[in-house]
Structure formats: C-alpha cells, structure tokens
C-alpha cells in the first residue's frame, strides 16, 4: 500500500515536471537568461506554499498520516560545501538542462540520450563519495 502511495507521488511528479516544461532543457536555458518568469513562477510558488505548509506542520505539531511525528533535520552548518557544491551543480544543471528528478522523467518521454546524463550523474556521485574526505566541507 505504501509503495503504491510512493508510486502515485512519483507519477504526479513526473507528469508535472513534463507538463510544466520544467524538464525542458530550453526552459532551464531561458531561466538563466532571465527571459521568462515561468521557471521562477514554478519554484517561487512551490516555495511560498511550501514555507506555509512547513510552518503549519511545525507550529501545530501535525502528525503524519500514520500518526508519527514529522521530523525536520537541520542541515549541518557550513558555507564552503554548499557554495562549491552548489556552483558545480549549477554548471551541470545549465549544461545538461536537467536536474536529478526530471532526468528520469525524460527517460519515460523516450529521449534515449538522457541515459548518458543519468549514468554520468551516478558516476559523479560515486567520485564525490571517493573524494569526500579530501574536499573542503
């Protein structure tokens, strides 16, 4: 049953990424050119509602559907890992035109070359794991 819920959430996510064109390389390029409000509208409105939702859950101690406490894990304090990691991610996001959610959606659409992006992103993750202790965090 829970698996079906996750599957449903994923399908809704995939359809939304495709239909909103957030999975389109062109939309990412246009966003970084500041030539359309579209992507900013998507992220901005998701964020505005997201902040209200999270505040609501925290303020009123809303329990999950299964009656458990909803936990938020504060991210570890640091500057370098977020800025360096962020910049590296941004370079790749703009070049490949896909982030780790939409790249899978594009497989479903039938774009075979996106599998190159997926495989190399897995390799990138692996290399990060190998170098983790040598990088400034």
């Amino acid at each position: 049953m829970r698996t079906l819920i996750y599957l449903f959430i994923g399908i809704l996510f995939g359809i939304t990424m495709f239909k909103s064109e957030a999975a389109s390389w062109f939309r990412i390029y246009e966003m970084f050119k500041f030539e359309s409000f579209h992507m900013y509208g998507i992220i901005g409105s998701a964020l505005a509602i997201g902040i209200i939702v999270v505040q609501f859950i925290q303020r009123f101690k809303i329990k999950s559907f299964y009656g458990e406490e909803i936990k938020f894990y504060p991210k570890e304090k640091s500057f370098s890992r977020y800025i360096f990691g962020g910049i590296i991610f941004g370079l790749g996001w703009a070049l490949a035109g896909a982030c780790p959610g939409p790249m899978f959606t594009l497989v479903g659409v039938g774009f075979l070359p996106i599998t190159i992006v997926i495989i190399s992103s897995i390799i990138g993750t692996f290399i990060y794991g190998l170098l983790k202790n040598k990088l400034p965090h």
Binding site: W93, L95, P113, G129
Partner: protein
C-alpha cells in the same frame, strides 16, 4: 478539460510541487531526488570503495519507487496528455539559441542537437551530456541536495545552508550560460 493538453502554467505546477512535498512529509519522508543517485551507487557495490556509500539502501527503497513513478509520469504526460511537444520559449531566447547553433529552439521539447537519438553517436553531444551529468551528480552530493532537496524542501524549512546552495546553483548556471556556452557551442 482541454487545458490539460496545453503546457501547464507555473501557477498550476508550483502548487502541485508543494503538494508533492506535503504528501511526502505526511507519509514520513522528505522530498529530495538526488539522494537516489547515491542509493544507486550503493546498490552497485560502491560501499566497498567508500564509507559514504555504506548504508542500508533498503531504507531508501521508497525514493526509488518515486523515481520509477517519475519515469512513468513522463511517459503518461508525453503520450497521453500532450498534443504539441514544442516548448514556446521567449522569441529572444530562440534567436540567441539559433546563433549558438540550436536550430530546434522553439520547435521541440529538448534540443535535437543534444537529445536526438543520433546524438548517441556524436562525440561532442556525448561529451556535453556526460560532463553535464557528472557535474550534476558530483555537485548535488557535495552540496547535499539538488533543486528538490534544497530549493524546495530546505528553503521551505527556512534553512540557511539551502539558501547558500541555491545561490551556488545560480552562480554556476549563470557562469555556464553566459560565459561558457559561447565557448562550447
């Protein structure tokens, strides 16, 4: 119901994404897609090479199911809910892209120059897609999250680290498009 076949506007998509984050919180999980890349490394045996990959990947199975859903969603969205694949980006953007050699701008969903099946046999396309993917995977893990984990989940929780990461995403993206694209394309 015709609107459903049109591209969805931001004010539909944004709230749905917030709803997805809400649903995941309500089932005791959190929204973050790049974590799956680490899980896949672990499944492939990366735990033997680095401690970073030593964890019980079964605890992340739920997120892999979300990924499978995202693939199915892409299929449903494109095969059943779409009549016109072309993405109507800003005409000025189309002109820019034409200058860079992307003649498919405004005519397709992804640039044919990179994502047409023939790209699988073009060295330049393969290189660009591989480097792009590598940076996405490496950077997402280094930063501890991607667009979903930081820009949506983290910022919704007003996390300062996520704000730094998102600023980084934009610095990287702007450098790539404004300074590196003219050199690459």
């Amino acid at each position: 119901m015709n609107w459903i076949f049109e591209p969805w506007p931001w004010y539909i998509a944004g709230p749905i994404i917030a709803f997805i984050m809400f649903l995941l919180l309500m089932v005791g999980k959190s929204f973050g897609m790049s974590a799956n890349l680490r899980t896949i490394c672990t499944i492939c045996g990366a735990g033997n090479k680095a401690n970073f990959f030593k964890f019980d990947w079964k605890s992340q199975k739920w997120n892999l199911v979300v990924v499978i859903g995202a693939v199915i969603g892409g299929y449903i969205g494109s095969h059943y809910l779409t009549t016109e694949m072309a993405v109507a980006i800003n005409p000025d953007t189309i002109k820019d892209l034409n200058v860079l050699g992307f003649m498919s701008a405004g005519k397709s969903y992804l640039p044919d120059e990179l994502f047409d099946n023939s790209s699988l046999f073009k060295v330049k396309s393969i290189l660009i897609l591989s480097i792009g993917g590598f940076l996405v995977g490496f950077g997402a893990r280094y930063a501890g999250g991607c667009t979903s984990g930081h820009a949506i989940s983290g910022l919704s929780d007003l996390q300062l680290p996520s704000l730094i990461a998102v600023i980084g995403f934009f610095i990287g993206g702007l450098i790539m498009i404004h300074f590196l694209f003219p050199l690459i394309f």
